[in-house]
């Protein structure tokens, strides 16, 4: 790596809250400083870069020219498409224009977070700005979706280091997400799963079950329909995740999660398993009664997972597989 030029990254910000950048700098392995100094050349990122104004737009155009087809476009946030894109402008131009211009000669696009991957909060009903995720405004480029609000720090740096180390895209699922981080439901690896299986639930905040750390399913937990790494390697260098702190998962890595609420209403009208119900039975019940608040694609995802041996994910993921071969 020492003598090789570092891969240029142009990191654009559209409609967003910068939680993805904040999460990124929380990375413990690799450290953010290693990414910045040794792994990539973060040539454009309005959160961290020293220059401002026309100097940074100059950098963006220079990199696009000098590294044509050879830079990573990382996008945090998404583009408002209503009314000619006036609801987000950068350097006097619409973010929509800046995004499409910068994507044109990118090697690949990394869509950071739920904004870029799925639309997230500004795309929640009634989506007043016409906010659209990146794969709905950019085509013809491999796009890696890294959902979550924000994504876990080591998921973000992990995606970049995979690309740099193996000079290839990680395997993606049908939604364009890296399988290495979005392959399992939180519920399947939840440390409170045993309580779910035993029918032991928190029924009210701070009740006896809450103090004993029982299952939060009845309080609205989205763990059973959310694919992410929270229950695998957790947040902030493994210190925990929302369920650890006694709060249900709100499903922030899933498409349309803002409109799958209210958050404290449990996922479906499924009969809660009684004592000694088997996990298989519960799984079957969940599948059979897909019910209120569960988007159709989630159900199909759950179904696919149940029959994982059929390998449903080998359909091409928004151009990703193609790029892998390039």
């Amino acid at each position: 790596m020492e003598t090789k030029p570092r891969l240029p990254v142009l990191w654009l910000h559209g409609l967003e809250c910068t939680c993805c950048s904040e999460s990124f700098i929380r990375s413990s392995h690799p450290l953010a400083q290693d990414v910045l100094l040794n792994l990539v050349s973060l040539d454009y990122d309005d959160t961290l870069q020293a220059a401002a104004g026309f100097q940074v737009e100059e950098i963006r155009r220079d990199v696009m020219k000098k590294y044509k087809g050879g830079y990573i476009l990382a996008v945090e946030g998404n583009a408002p498409t209503a009314d000619g894109g006036v609801y987000c402008t950068v350097g006097g131009d619409s973010f929509l224009n800046v995004l499409t211009e910068t994507a044109k000669d990118a090697k690949l696009v990394v869509a950071w977070g739920s904004c870029a991957s799925n639309g997230c909060v500004q795309a929640a009903k009634p989506n007043p700005t016409g906010a659209k995720p990146i794969n709905q405004v950019i085509s013809g480029k491999p796009i890696i979706n890294v959902p979550g609000c924000p994504p876990i720090a080591e998921v973000m740096t992990g995606v970049l280091t995979y690309i740099l180390t193996f000079d290839a895209l990680p395997e993606l699922d049908r939604q364009g997400r890296p399988k290495m981080f979005y392959g399992q439901r939180l519920h399947d690896k939840c440390y409170r799963r045993a309580f779910f299986d035993a029918g032991q639930f928190v029924e009210s905040w701070d009740d006896d079950g809450a103090k004993k750390g029982w299952c939060l399913y009845k309080m609205g937990c989205r763990g059973p329909s959310t694919y992410n790494s929270c229950s695998t390697f957790k947040w902030n260098c493994g210190q925990g995740w929302p369920v650890n702190s006694g709060h249900p998962c709100i499903g922030c890595a899933e498409e349309g999660f803002w409109d799958n609420g209210p958050f404290y209403q449990r996922l479906s009208n499924v009969v809660v398993p009684g004592i000694e119900a088997t996990p298989d039975k519960i799984g079957e019940t969940l599948l059979a009664v897909s019910g209120i608040g569960v988007a159709a694609h989630l159900v199909s995802t759950v179904t696919r997972r149940q029959f994982a041996h059929i390998k449903p994910e080998d359909e091409p993921a928004s151009g990703g597989d193609k790029a892998e071969k390039e």
């Binding site: 570092r6 700098i25 020293a50 909060v121 902030n236």
Partner: protein, 573 residues
């Protein structure tokens, strides 16, 4: 002939901000406009939703000041539903908020603001041994201060620069005449940029303990989701508490041994910056860190109050619930109000987008027309500055000993008079001084939590009004807070168990505000006046003053939009 300088994007901030400044013949700023160039429509999206979910939506207003909007939101709902949260919940929320202060302020100083004062390229000329001597003098108790350490940092920097790929440091203003630090001070600052970057990911683990993750920890109307069970292994117990305590001690160490020494060292090279950037001279603080519930401001650690015209001998009261005090105007904002309405209190707030700016791509905005997605909030028609400087001044003027102690200590060490606080450097220093208080209070709040647990109270949630069936049909609430960037308010109207209206007036709405109907400038605009620029093409001086406010534009421009027909729905009748 006057000259117009445009800075867009303003970098090292949160969100999208554009500054246009007009320079006179002497190269001094004569006029300036501040334009927020994005909005997302959060308030429209909140309408009709479950008020207990609002914290999660609001938290996504900003990921840099994560947690603050979640807190203001749960407070607004609790205010509307008349919920008193348990003492443990108050303390845990205070700990999370103060953690945010320390983390956010340290990141601001080192990663968003320092490069306005520190010349990274000049650091290459530094002598590592001389840098070590300087570091030991500046902070005798900070251990990483050897020639070997600085030699390693210099080596890393040299390799980086020689690679020809300068990444985030390229095309910047290195060598600009406004940079005054000697090479050794620059190298020390670069080293500490990296140390602070490493540390900030640690302190946020306090949020992980109580809220499950950071950014965007989870909150709960009525208390905290985190239960306490000192005799259990699956809730907050002694191990989790000790973990938090250790992180608090580390935070105190970082503030006292790294941040404050660096701040004072850098400040000592820029005395002229205590004469620029003063701006409005009006300061507003809602107050925060309750000790006896949010309804008793007399017990807040940050006292509530207003200072007008830099008059520190009088602190005026402020009431966020009074319809005649806080009102938002829109004469230069891209919004429309109903016929005949010029200024609205947030409970009656209306927001209909009405973009009248130039079609992108554009070169220049028109200061006589609408020029920003930020509204113009005013207190009794006065433009106000909010944030750390406002808090330090109100605390100081209110006669609070802890505020007086840190302010007089810093002024003494820099040999400055209190008037020096009304400046760009004063704003930057106030953020550091307030971090000293926040780090100290963190341990005080931790001790209060332990004392309460010792007294046998381990309750963390009040669930009496969790069920919407217990709610009144129609109610209003306001949740106010001192976010790191300043006074924050969420106003909610709940009807038939749903959100009927939700209005948010954030710190950067006050500070980044455009002109009002009287032509009064907002805080950024006022602070830029009189700033001399050595080289208009390299706007370092403008960035210094703008960054001293720590802008957060996603916050400032969270506001709603709607099609014409939606407007009618937004009006609270």
């Amino acid at each position: 002939m006057s000259k117009r300088v445009v800075v867009d994007p303003v970098t090292r901030i949160e969100g999208h901000l554009r500054i246009e400044a007009v320079l006179n013949d002497q190269g001094v700023v004569d006029d300036a406009i501040s334009s927020g160039t994005m909005w997302r429509g959060l308030e429209v999206i909140l309408k009709g939703r479950d008020p207990r979910d609002a914290w999660a939506f609001c938290e996504r207003i900003c990921g840099v000041c994560t947690t603050v909007h979640a807190l203001a939101s749960v407070r607004s709902v609790e205010s509307a539903l008349n919920i008193t949260i348990p003492k443990n919940a108050e303390i845990i929320r205070n700990i999370m908020e103060l953690t945010q202060y320390v983390q956010d302020h340290v990141i601001h100083f080192y990663h968003l603001h320092a490069l306005d004062w520190v010349d990274v390229v000049s650091a290459l000329k530094a002598d590592p041994a001389a840098t070590a001597a300087l570091a030991q003098k500046v902070s005798p108790r900070w251990p990483l201060a050897t020639a070997g350490y600085f030699s390693d940092v210099a080596g890393t920097l040299k390799k980086f620069v020689e690679s020809g790929q300068l990444g985030i440091f390229q095309n910047a203003y290195w060598g600009h005449p406004a940079y005054k630090l000697p090479p050794e001070a620059n190298l020390m600052a670069v080293a500490h940029y990296l140390e602070a970057l490493k540390w900030q990911k640690e302190v946020v683990k306090i949020h992980t303990v109580f809220g499950g993750k950071n950014p965007h920890p989870h909150y709960l109307v009525g208390g905290t989701g985190a239960a306490i069970n000192l005799n259990g292994d699956n809730a907050i117990n002694m191990e989790r508490l000790e973990f938090v305590r250790g992180l608090i001690l580390d935070a105190q160490n970082i503030v006292e041994q790294l941040y404050i020494p660096d701040l004072l060292a850098v400040a000592s090279f820029y005395p002229e910056w205590t004469t620029y950037g003063g701006g409005l001279g009006n300061y507003m603080v809602y107050g925060d860190i309750p000790q006896n519930g949010v309804n008793d401001p007399s017990k807040f650690k940050f006292p509530r109050g207003i200072i007008l015209n830099k008059n520190l001998s009088e602190v005026l009261p402020v009431d966020p619930a009074d319809a005649n005090q806080i009102q938002e105007q829109i004469p230069h904002s891209w919004y429309k109000y109903p016929e005949g309405k010029l200024a609205l209190h947030p409970w009656d707030g209306v927001t209909e987008a009405n973009y009248t700016g130039p079609k992108p791509p554009y070169a220049q905005l028109d200061e006589n027309a609408g020029y920003s997605f930020v509204k113009a909030p005013r207190w009794k028609e006065h433009a106000m500055e909010v944030g750390p400087l406002a808090r330090m001044l109100v605390g100081f003027a209110s006669g609070r000993d802890d505020f007086k102690e840190v302010v007089t200590d810093a002024l003494g060490r820099l040999k400055l008079q209190p008037a020096a606080l009304f400046s760009t450097l004063g704003r930057t220093a106030a953020r550091g001084l307030e971090s000293r208080l926040a780090a100290k209070w963190l341990l005080e709040e931790y001790d209060r939590l332990i004392a309460n647990l010792k007294a046998g109270d381990s309750v963390t949630a009040n669930t009496t009004r969790w069920d919407p069936k217990t709610w009144p049909e129609d109610c209003k609430g306001v949740g106010v807070e001192e976010a790191p960037r300043g006074a924050l308010g969420h106003w909610i109207h709940i009807k038939d168990q749903k959100i009927a209206n939700y209005q948010i007036v954030v710190p950067s709405t006050w500070n980044a505000s455009p002109k009002d109907a009287k032509g009064q400038r907002g805080a950024y605009e006022a602070a830029l006046l009189g700033t001399p620029m050595a080289d208009p093409k390299r706007p370092l001086e403008l960035l210094r003053t703008i960054h001293s406010f720590d802008p957060c534009l996603a916050c400032a421009t969270h506001v709603t939009s709607s099609e014409g027909e939606t407007l009618a729905e937004l009006v609270v009748r």
